[in-house]
Every structure is written in structure tokens, then in C-alpha cells.
């Protein structure tokens, strides 16, 4: 009896080993993430992070929010921390989305306060080294119109055709995108929870981030848990999906938990993939994968569960969440939305492991 069991165990081990080896075949050829600067390390001092999950920039300052509910402003050129504070209430959990935008002619920073089911709007403030004041907030817990379960990100469109629209994505049972006007009044919503098996329907499974494609007048929704990216008109009509749950993977053009993206000026985009630990450049019109940058790991140029990305000129700031740092690298093309010129970075890349 024991010999038979041993033989069975050996056969099982061999089968597992064969499967394990086969898993890596056909993997996309990675390009290294050539890091020009690394900002931050793990910790709670200013300039350090405790699982940072949201990043955006207004062109010169990086706004970063971590799992200690800290909103930090950092100088994008030097990485120097300017100021930090905590969101006003965070008993239930922390925000996962931040957006720098123009709203009503004012430069604001909008925080998707995920676990408090609301959206916070911070005004510019007079001193960049001072805590920004909250100028407005909207939303409450629920599944009704204008309510949220877990809001994840916000995008703002100012268009002569319809004025100002604020798009808010959410998950938690009612996965959708709600649209508000500049007075934060609910206008309409699109999408519902679904696992994406019907490509013609607008189903989301954790729409993690929103990006406005100003050049093509589109709203891009990163549908993280369906492993795809949706292109929509500003009215919420589906244009096309890039990727699908059925093709999720590690090949070029495939995604595993895409969490965020940054549009480049040539119609391509840099997609941050949480599970694959990389940045993938894709063509937005066709969905074709062009190249990938980085790989999972803790060294310089390696990423662990990256969550988000922000761009200034040709400098892409990847939020390397699992390593508690931001890694800046030179993008092949500048970002679509002109948010200042690429800063002359004065902080050198740090050594492997230092930021982990």
C-alpha cells in the first residue's frame, strides 16, 4: 500500500512540476523599467509611505494617499515632502483614488474616499506647504442615485457641449459609474456589476480608475477584476473593450488586474497591472500590446502590486504599492494631458531593497 501511495505522490509531483514549468511559456518579452528616480520608503515619517494606493499630479506636485489615511504632497522634481495630513474620517477604511483637475475654473484635488462612501474636494490653498482645505464633499452610503458603496476614482470633464461633468466609479455590489454636474447633483449612471461574459453589455467588476481622453472625447474605465479597459463616450455609451476576462494573462496585450492607466500623446497608454507587476504600453484604438516595462520584485525597476500611475511630461511616476515607494521612469512618449514639462529630477534612484 505505501509504495503505491508513494508512486502516486511522485506522479502528482511530476505533473505539478510539468505544469509549473509550462506556465511561463509564451511570456511577453519584458523591457526593464529604467528608473530615473525613486521616492519614498516604508514608514510613517513625511515622505515615507504605508501602502500608498493613490497618486496624481497637478504638474509639479505629487499627491499621494496611503493606507494610513495620509494625504501627502511631494515636490515632483525633488521628491521632498511638502505637507501631510489625514482625511477627516477613516474608521471604515482609506481612500484609493485621487484626481487633480480643474473644476469651475479652480484647480482642485478630488479624493474618492472609498470606505467612507463619499467624495472629498480639496481646494488649492494659498500655500503649497499647508494643508489644503476641503471645499466640498458629496455622496453617502447606499445604492440609490447619487449614493456610493465604495467609490474608487473621479474624473472631471469640462466641455462646452454639456458644461461640467464629474464621473465617479464605484464597486462593492453596485459596480457602476455615476455622473454629477458641477453642483454635485446626480445626472445619470451607467454600468452594473457583471463578470464580463457579454462584451456588448456594460458590466464592471471593480472599475478601479477613470481617465479622460480629451483628444478623442472618450472616458476610459479600467475594469480591474474583469481584466479589461473600457472606452466610453462622455454619455456612457460603450465604444470598445480592450482585453477581456477570457483572455486575462501575462502575454503582450493581456492584462491581469489592470488598476490604472496614463494616456500618451500618440494614442497609446501605459497600463499599470496590479497582479502582473508591470507597466504595459498598449494602442488604445486597437488594444494591441506594444511593450511591457518592469517585472514583479523588490529591486530597482521591479514592482510589487503597483496601484496607480501619474505623468508629468515624459516622466511616469508608478505607485509601487507593495514596495511602499514611487518609481519614476522615462516614458516612450509624453502624457496626453499637458501637466507641465518633465521635471529635472534631482533625486537619484535608490538601491535595491531600500525602498521595500
Amino acid at each position: 500500500m505505501p509504495r503505491r501511495v508513494l508512486a502516486l505522490a511522485s506522479a502528482l509531483s511530476l505533473a505539478l512540476a510539468v505544469q509549473g514549468c509550462g506556465g511561463s511559456s509564451g511570456e511577453a518579452a519584458d523591457r526593464p523599467l529604467e528608473v530615473v528616480a525613486t521616492i519614498g520608503s516604508v514608514g510613517l515619517w513625511p515622505g515615507q509611505f504605508a501602502t500608498p494606493r493613490a497618486i496624481d499630479t497637478d504638474g509639479s506636485i505629487l499627491w499621494v494617499i496611503d493606507k494610513a489615511a495620509r494625504v501627502q504632497k511631494l515636490d515632483a522634481a525633488t521628491g521632498e515632502p511638502l505637507v501631510e495630513w489625514k482625511t477627516p474620517r477613516h474608521d471604515n477604511g482609506m481612500p484609493v483614488g485621487v484626481t487633480c483637475a480643474m473644476l469651475g475654473g479652480r484647480r482642485v484635488t478630488i479624493v474618492a474616499d472609498t470606505h467612507e462612501s463619499r467624495v472629498l474636494i480639496y481646494g488649492p490653498g494659498e500655500d503649497p506647504r499647508a494643508e489644503a482645505p476641503i471645499v466640498a464633499e458629496f455622496g453617502s452610503y447606499g445604492t440609490g442615485p447619487g449614493q456610493f458603496i465604495y467609490p474608487t476614482d473621479v474624473a472631471v470633464v469640462e466641455d462646452p457641449a454639456f458644461g461640467t461633468r464629474i464621473y465617479v466609479s464605484e464597486y462593492g455590489g453596485d459596480d457602476r459609474v455615476s455622473v454629477f454636474n458641477e453642483r454635485f447633483e446626480f445626472q445619470f449612471a451607467f454600468g452594473r456589476f457583471g463578470t464580463g461574459e457579454h462584451p456588448t453589455e456594460v458590466e464592471f467588476n471593480r472599475p478601479q480608475s477613470l481617465v479622460v481622453d480629451e483628444a478623442n472625447r472618450e472616458l476610459v474605465v479600467v475594469d480591474a477584476c474583469n481584466h479589461r479597459i473600457g472606452r466610453f463616450t462622455f454619455d456612457g455609451a460603450l465604444i470598445a473593450w480592450i482585453g477581456s476576462p477570457e483572455t486575462a494573462g501575462r502575454e503582450l496585450g493581456q492584462f491581469k488586474y489592470p488598476y490604472s492607466l496614463a494616456l500618451l500623446d500618440d494614442g497609446t497608454a501605459l497600463v499599470v497591472e496590479y497582479e502582473n507587476g508591470r507597466v504595459q504600453r498598449i494602442e488604445m484604438k486597437t488594444g494591441r500590446g506594444i511593450e511591457t516595462f518592469g517585472k514583479p520584485g523588490r529591486g530597482v525597476g521591479e514592482l510589487v502590486t503597483p496601484w496607480s500611475i501619474a505623468m508629468i511630461g515624459r516622466t511616469a511616476y508608478v505607485l509601487d504599492t507593495g514596495n511602499n515607494r514611487i518609481q519614476a521612469f522615462r516614458s516612450p512618449r509624453p502624457g496626453q494631458t499637458r501637466r507641465g514639462d518633465a521635471p529635472t529630477l534631482s533625486h537619484a534612484p535608490v538601491g535595491a531593497g531600500e525602498g521595500s
Binding site: 500500500m1 505505501p2 501511495v5 505522490a9 502528482l12 509531483s13 505539478l16 512540476a17 505544469q19 509549473g20 506556465g23 520608503s41 516604508v42 514608514g43 510613517l44 515619517w45 515615507q48 504605508a50 501602502t51 493606507k67 494610513a68 471604515n92 464597486y171 462593492g172 455590489g173 457583471g194 463578470t195 461574459e197 467588476n205 471593480r206 477584476c225 481584466h227 476576462p245 477570457e246 486575462a248 494573462g249 501575462r250 491581469k256 497582479e275 502582473n276 507587476g277 517585472k295 514583479p296 520584485g297 523588490r298 521591479e302 514592482l303 510589487v304 502590486t305 507593495g322 531593497g353 521595500s356
Partner: protein, 548 residues
């Protein structure tokens, strides 16, 4: 080299003192155990000994004692509830025959976080409970919803851990003569009176069960973390998340009640276990007249249904699209394969540890001392919070091995899981010594089992069911473990623990359900094998018990 004390034995081998032996096999085994201890203890020491002269990081020190109070309350609740169900299960299993022994193992297939996720389906919107909670006014709905989450989290842990209680109490029950039960039945007319008598009779194993289950729950962060219950184990995890690797020792200041208890309890339990192993052999209980009953089997089926079938069915039925189950394999199959591979290697390592512990404990002098120390150390590590052990091992090995060879592959995961579940191998080793009949040991020696190869030819085959059961048990726990795995696994798509943790955090029932099918499927296969192997072991023992 070979020396034996003169054995003292009675007719059936019961009550004999064990003769001490020092053979090449016992010396090599002790050496092996010492190497395992060094591989675990040195990196832990390196990681947690303060060595940085830099100013410390800014740490938000959590209120340790109130959090410890929460942890203590929750773990005591889990310990008592799991023991009550385990007592019931053990009592019924005694009358449910071999099939009952397999049934008792099945709940181990569904880890506490999956059980929690399954039962939580019953409070989702659209269910009776969910709608009732939703109908309550604002703040009240939040409070009741939170209370329901806590209750389901405790329930998840209880339903996962009661088989452990049943095993501990069941071992005691099986040592009692069937005549004794008949006597209790005849003397005590009321069922309540009979229960009281039984509890008194089984008091030592009941207390041991409450203690062991409670201690295991004390260091467990999930699912209480997902249910938003502030406990010390979770605070330790958060603190470690916010500390640079060279400052990990600061987490010890937060975790001091947990590791102090783990050390004291591990030492005590280890001493008890080795004393039990090397002490006199217990007489076999008379089992005549104890037949498998349908009622016993049905009761066990009912318990297993609550523990495994109901939560799994709830998850599967809440899946909106059955394609998700196939999709899970595509997305996370790599993680499942990786987890099974690590589990397999852990199982093998635990089997080897069990053999080495058994051989070392049957020796005298240094090998015996190493064996005793090893059992104590493994219990201490097993009762410590997984995240603390994992962080310590990774941090320590990163310092010791600059090339990163140890921490970049599966080796660190196997080491971490050996640290977490080595106690299973150590206890199996104790049982191997305890359960071996002196006559058989003499026969083994006569057959030339003084070297490791000799032992492999003789003792290994005899003890194979017990060793394999211990290995499979540890392999199963390794496969479903999250807290330590999340910390030690190299980043990338092969990290199943991270994926499961994300599903739990994001309350993604769709993915969770698909994961449950794969995990429970693998688990049921393993637990059935464990149950079957233990049955075989028992049959072997019963057969060889009559040798004298």
C-alpha cells in the same frame, strides 16, 4: 555505539518504561532537527535583534492591552465553542466507526476565511438577514451588520477548528473502556447527568482542547481582520507593514503578549508531549461492544454539513456565472499550482521531521535533549502569529544571504511553513514513539533498524500512515495558509495567498466562490486521505497491539 537500557515491560507492553537507545539513526535524526532549528532560529534572531543605530521610525503604537483583551475574548470564545462541538463530534465519532473518523477530518478542508465568506453570504443584500439589517435605521444597521460580521468570523474559526478539538478529545475517548460507558449509562438515568459525568471523565482533554484551539485562534488575524474586529494579531500585522525591515524588532514590543504566551504555552505543551511520548505505554481500551451506529454517523454528517457543505454551497450558489470557476483557474491557476507545490514540499519536510523527532525521542543523552527542545521550539513557533514568524524569517534570511537565493524561491516558503506547522511533525514524532509496541521495537532492532536506512526498511513502513497523515495535514494547512504566505512569498502572479486576501478584502464573492471550489476540492481530497491513513494506522496499532 549501540547501547540499550534493559526494558521493563508487562505482558501486553502497557505501563512499560521505554528503553533508551543511541543508534546512528537517532544521532543523525537529532543532527537533522538541530539543523532545522538553526535554519529557523538564526534568521529569526537576526531579524528581531535590534541592530540599527539610526533614529527609529515613526510608529503609531496601538493600545496593546485593550487589543489583547479583544483577542483573548475572541480566542476563548472560539476555544470553548470549538471544544463543545469537538466533544460532541468525538463522542459521536466513537460510535460512527471508521467512516466517522474520516468525516471528522473534512472540516479542515475549508479554512476559516472561506467558512466566514460562505456564511457571510447569508447577510448579503437580498437574503432575509441582509434585508432585515438593511431595514434598520442608519447607525443601528451599521452596528447590527458589524455584530453579524463578528459572529460569522467567530463561527468560521469554530467550524474550522472543531476537528482539532475532536481529535484531542477523541484520543481520550478511545482510551476509555466500552464497559465504562455501559456503567455510566446504567448508573445515570438522565442524559444531563450522563453528560456531566462524561465531561468530568474527559476533563483533562477538554481543558487541553480549549487551550490549544484558543491559542491557535489567538495568533490568527484572519478572518477577524476582514470582519473589522480590532485584535492584537491584526495590529502586529499593520505595525509590521509600516516598519522598514531593519526595524521589524519594534513589532515585538507590540506583540509581546502574543509571543510571551506562545513561548510559555509552547514550552509547557512541548514538555507534556515529550513526557507523554517517552512515558509508559497506555493499555489498550476494550472496544468490544462498541459498534458503528447510524445515529453517530448521521450526527457527524450534520456537523460536517454545517462546517463544509453549507458555506461551500452558499458560495457556489451565489456565483452569478459558473464560468467564473474555470476563469479562476486561468487567473489564479499558477498560484494554485504553486501553493500545491509548496504544500507538497512542506508535507515531505514534516514527514521527515516526524521521523527524526520520533527517533530522537527514543534515544538517550544529547539526541533526546535535542528532540525535546525541538518539540518545544516547534510548538512555540506554531502558536506565534504567522505574520511575525514570516516577517522574521524573510528579514533574517535577507540579511544572512545577500544573494537572495533563499528568499527569491520556494525555499523560504517551505521554511516558513515548516516553522508554522513543524509542530504537527513534532507531535506525530511523539505519537510514533508512544504508539510503538515494545515488542515491535525489539523486532525492528533485530531486523537491523539502527541506521536510517534500516529504519526506512522496517519502522517507516509500519509508521507510514501516521507520518503521511501528519505530512498531508501540514501540507493542507500550508496550501490554505495566508498570513505567513503573504509575507514570505516572492511577488508575482504565483502568490495565491495575496489573491485570496484581496478577494476577501474586496468582498468579491464571485472570485471567492470560484476559489472555494478549487481549495475545498483539493482540501477534501487531502482530508479524506488523512482520515483514511489514520484509520489504517489505528488498524495497524490494533493488529500489532496483540503481538504480545
Amino acid at each position: 555505539m549501540v547501547s540499550h537500557d534493559k526494558p521493563h515491560q508487562s505482558e501486553n507492553g502497557a505501563g512499560t518504561r521505554r528503553p533508551r537507545e543511541r543508534t546512528p539513526a537517532t544521532v543523525v535524526s537529532a543532527g537533522l532537527l538541530a539543523i532545522v532549528l538553526v535554519l529557523l532560529a538564526v534568521p529569526l534572531g537576526v531579524a528581531f535583534i535590534p541592530h540599527s543605530t539610526q533614529s527609529g521610525p515613526l510608529v503609531e503604537t496601538p493600545p496593546v492591552l485593550p487589543l489583547f483583551g479583544n483577542s483573548l475574548l475572541a480566542s476563548l470564545g472560539v476555544g470553548v465553542c470549538a471544544t463543545v462541538i469537538g466533544l460532541f463530534g468525538a463522542w459521536r465519532a466513537r460510535a460512527a466507526g471508521a467512516f466517522g473518523r474520516v468525516l471528522v477530518m473534512l472540516p479542515l478542508a475549508l479554512p476559516s476565511y472561506l467558512s466566514y465568506a460562505g456564511w457571510s453570504v447569508f447577510r448579503a443584500p437580498g437574503t432575509w438577514l441582509g434585508d432585515w439589517i438593511g431595514s434598520l435605521p442608519g447607525a443601528r444597521a451599521g452596528e447590527v451588520g458589524h455584530a453579524a460580521n463578528v459572529a460569522f468570523a467567530i463561527l468560521g474559526m469554530v467550524l474550522w477548528l472543531w476537528p482539532l478539538a475532536a481529535i484531542i478529545i477523541g484520543a481520550h475517548v478511545r482510551r476509555l473502556d466500552a464497559d465504562l460507558f455501559q456503567l455510566i449509562r446504567a448508573e445515570s438515568p438522565g442524559i444531563l447527568r450522563r453528560c456531566v459525568l462524561l465531561v468530568r471523565l474527559l476533563r483533562p482533554s477538554i481543558l487541553l482542547s480549549i487551550m490549544l484551539v484558543g491559542l491557535l485562534a489567538l495568533g490568527t488575524a484572519i478572518p477577524l481582520h476582514v470582519a473589522n474586529v480590532p485584535t492584537l494579531a491584526i495590529s502586529v500585522w499593520l505595525t509590521l507593514d509600516r516598519l522598514p525591515p531593519d526595524q521589524a524588532w519594534r513589532a515585538l514590543l507590540v506583540a509581546w503578549p502574543l509571543w510571551t504566551i506562545a513561548c510559555v504555552a509552547g514550552w509547557w505543551l512541548g514538555s507534556r508531549a515529550t513526557a507523554w511520548a517517552t512515558g509508559g505505554r497506555a493499555a489498550h481500551a476494550t472496544r468490544e461492544g462498541m459498534r458503528a451506529s447510524t445515529r453517530g454517523t448521521l450526527t457527524l454528517c450534520w456537523l460536517v454539513g454545517l462546517s463544509v457543505v453549507v458555506p461551500t454551497a452558499a458560495l457556489v450558489l451565489s456565483t452569478r456565472n459558473l464560468h467564473s470557476i474555470g476563469r479562476f483557474w486561468r487567473i489564479s491557476g499558477e498560484g494554485v499550482v504553486h501553493g500545491l507545490a509548496v504544500g507538497g514540499m512542506t508535507a515531505g519536510a514534516i514527514g521527515v521531521i516526524a521521523i527524526a523527532t520520533g527517533l530522537a525521542l527514543s534515544a538517550r543523552g544529547m539526541p533526546l535533549r535535542v528532540g525535546r527542545g525541538f518539540v518545544r521550539a516547534m510548538l512555540m513557533l506554531g502558536l506565534s502569529p504567522g505574520v511575525l514568524v514570516g516577517t522574521g524569517l524573510v528579514g533574517g534570511w535577507n540579511r544572512l544571504d545577500a544573494s537572495g537565493n533563499v528568499t527569491s524561491g520556494m525555499l523560504i516558503e517551505v521554511l516558513a511553513h515548516v516553522a508554522r506547522f513543524g509542530w504537527i511533525g513534532a507531535i506525530a514524532g511523539c505519537a510514533m514513539v508512544r504508539l510503538e509496541h515494545p515488542n515491535l521495537r525489539d523486532l525492528r532492532r533485530a531486523d537491523g533498524a539502527e541506521t536510517l536506512l534500516g529504519f526506512a526498511r522496517t519502522g517507516l513502513m509500519l509508521n507510514f500512515p501516521l507520518l503521511a497523515a501528519a505530512g498531508l495535514g501540514a501540507g493542507l494547512l500550508s496550501f490554505t495558509e495566508i498570513e505567513c504566505s503573504v509575507v514570505v512569498q516572492p511577488p508575482g502572479p504565483g502568490n495565491l495567498a495575496r489573491q485570496i486576501l484581496n478577494y476577501l478584502h474586496f468582498a468579491r464573492i464571485e472570485e471567492m466562490s470560484a476559489a472555494a471550489v478549487w481549495i475545498v476540492g483539493s482540501g477534501i481530497l487531502l482530508t479524506t486521505s488523512i482520515g483514511w491513513l489514520l484509520m489504517v494506522r489505528e488498524r495497524v496499532e490494533r493488529t500489532t497491539g496483540g503481538l504480545s
